[in-house]
């Protein structure tokens, strides 16, 4: 019972630290990017695409698509889809919001596993 109690206290304290501590990213998303994030969820983009390697496997990881491709390229994909991706019939505003979201995800860090350093104790460090 004591072990159970101690573990629960540690768990809830750990959870509280995560909820209330300073955020790891420098800036929150702007309102347009926040709108883009909701569209990302409403269209279920994560079924096929990943952010930081988390998500589906049918399409590429889009964390840093803003820096690896041009804004025009992103908009062309969003407008027409691809032979695999359906045309979601997004409005101009929705495309702007999604592009702003990709700009924001790009600003939070680098997802490519190539860019990480590996250490002898098995840990890795961010670029």
């Amino acid at each position: 019972m004591l072990i159970f109690f101690l573990l629960c206290v540690s768990f809830f304290s750990y959870s509280a630290v995560l909820y209330f501590s300073e955020t790891p990213e420098k800036e929150p998303s702007g309102s347009l990017a926040a709108e883009g994030k909701l569209i990302w969820q409403q269209k279920n983009c994560s079924a096929c695409h990943q952010l930081y390697g988390l998500g589906g496997h049918l399409g590429p990881d889009l964390t840093n698509v803003y820096s690896t491709r041009s804004e025009a390229y992103i908009r062309a994909f969003l407008k027409n889809g691809s032979p695999v991706m359906p045309d979601f019939k997004l409005s101009d505003q929705e495309m702007k919001a999604l592009t702003a979201f990709f700009k924001y995800t790009n600003s939070t860090g680098t997802a490519s596993p190539r860019s990480f350093s590996k250490h002898s104790d098995g840990t890795i460090s961010q670029p």
Partner: protein, 439 residues
Amino acid sequence: MLSALLFGLTAALQYIAPGFWRNTFSFEKLRPLHVSSAVFWIILAAIGTVLSYLQQHNQQPLKNLRLVSIQYYLFIVSFTAVLISYCFGIFGGREYWEFHPVFAIPIVTAWLFFIINFFVNISFAQKQPVYIWMWITGITFFLFTYLESNLWLIPSIRNHLVKDMTIQWKSYGSIVGSWNMLIYGSSIFLMDKIAGNRKYSFSKIGFGLYFLGLFNLMFNWGHHIYTLPTYGFVKNIGYLVSMTEIFLLGRIIFLWKQSLNTAKKHIHLQPFKFLIAADVWIFLTLGLAIAMSIPALNLYMHGTHVIVAHTMGATIGINSMILLAFVYDLLDDTCQSLNSFRKLIHKGYWLLNISLFFFWISLIIAGFIKSYWQMNQPDVAFGSMMLTLKPWMYLFYFAGTGLATGFAIVLYPVIRNKIMCYFQRRQKPASTLEALKAA
């Protein structure tokens, strides 16, 4: 479960015929239909088993059957509504819980009823076996972690991507640990039932392993997000805690011979056969999980199909095999003897496990190819890399078909038995306990 298999096979077609049903039933609809069906199968079967075994533990029917019915219908209606909403392209949640957040209300309400049902049927006057502790843990932590997975609804969390993803994967890691507590607790109950004594349920090692499981449920989720630029301490805690799983792996190897002897003794029992299969899958999945928990190795596997292989090993190889053991224990031959189906079940069992092995291997190989591309071929386009995976995706699809067929074969006799029970009950009402056992 049948809908999980059906939608899984249809979704998997997209890997060998990209763009299939692109404009009608595309992947963003099929994947959540498959995933949510599988999650609902696990949750509903786990709840049904806990309530059924609770009656056997207490040796009396549940106290409030009306509440059990309300809970049951709330789950069924909300889960069905979720699947229908996917067909219409209505989403709003995140990966694994893609449904609109409004569905969280009936799901949480039904879970609260489950909690009430459980606690009114439990007595704390005497020392309880470890499986009761595991059920208590699973039931309460599921509610907490499910609510936690909805914290993205608060704008201050949602608008900080990295923090939001950290909390999202914290909740996912713990929620899986929670339903595992329900399933593993029930498997300990079943093992005791087969062995005919309750030595393990009250043993020090039983409680020791329970606390190790609880410790991992709470703190081991960090390995999901090693590449996310989140708090360093989350990753370090995740790495250290994950390594305690080596103890479990070592124990399986150490007790291998003893397990084989026990298996020989009980192999004629259908539920035991599924528990043995689950044991083998625990060994394979745990080995992969430990490798994935080392950050430097995780880097090569993260974002690849190796992670999918791990998930499939855990949900099909471990969870579903154990749940099938419960299905055979609870629904076995209540209304019709299964003797005439023994050979069919045997064939289905082997088809299921061999197909799962090839399914698992095909994903691991596809994952290694993608990993090589991620680490070494920055100039090769994503689409070109996907083409190189094609042969393994064919194996994945055909093994998946074998897997679905194996499941259908092993489920057929028990579903038939259930239908027989339904018609027999219409002729002669069963006792409350029998009726619940059959349900």
